[in-house]
Subunit: 120 residues, 2 copies
């Protein structure tokens, strides 16, 4: 049986920004940690909501009509089909939850920020 997951320990093993790593699963959902620095890419997920929980630092989730500002202990669920673009002027550490198989860049053209699913 899998053991507990210390999120800070997992994050300490990451270097690159916007390189999410799977730390566990909840049924058919992947639990991922990611370091965010700078701006990601505008995208949406047509088939799923998108869960963000900030663990440390500050993350802005840009929506087309407003910005959602998240600090530690704050979460936001981007509804399915809603365009968004995360941005972190300073590094933030984030827990992401999405169904397995969800592409991190959603419907955006595959590019340098598109990542394969992998563990830490």
């Amino acid at each position: 049986m899998d053991d507990k997951i210390n999120l800070a320990d997992k994050l300490a093993q990451l270097d690159d920004a916007y390189d999410p790593r799977i730390v566990g699963y909840l049924n058919d959902y992947k639990l991922e940690v990611v370091k965010t620095r700078g701006e990601f890419v505008w995208h949406k997920h047509d088939d799923t909501d998108d869960f963000f929980l900030v663990l440390s630092g500050h993350l802005t989730i840009q929506l087309r009509d407003r910005d959602v500002e998240l600090g530690p202990g704050e979460l936001f669920v981007v509804p399915k089909g809603v365009e968004h673009c995360p941005r972190a002027d300073l590094e933030a550490h984030v827990l992401l939850i999405e169904p397995k198989g969800t592409v991190n860049t959603g419907d955006a053209p595959p590019g340098e920020l598109t990542r394969e699913e992998r563990g830490v």
Copy 2:
């Protein structure tokens, strides 16, 4: 569109132990906060894994063969069908994620700790 969720603010509105309150949704999953004090009840969920993330304090998830000790920033997913019994000698604040309709006391006989789904 729902706004961001500050977990500490939501928890500050709760009094009772083991009275989980829905703060949001991720597709067909409910996101809940709960204060844990003392021992819960042994139970299992035959149809779903069970997600626990400790936000503050310390939570012991008792399994039949061992205890899983969680501090802030540590999460554990109890696999479906595995008996467990949370225990907190001091109060802990916890984020729970389960499919909508999951009964908090699982397969245990409905009792004083069984709660209806409701928001904070």
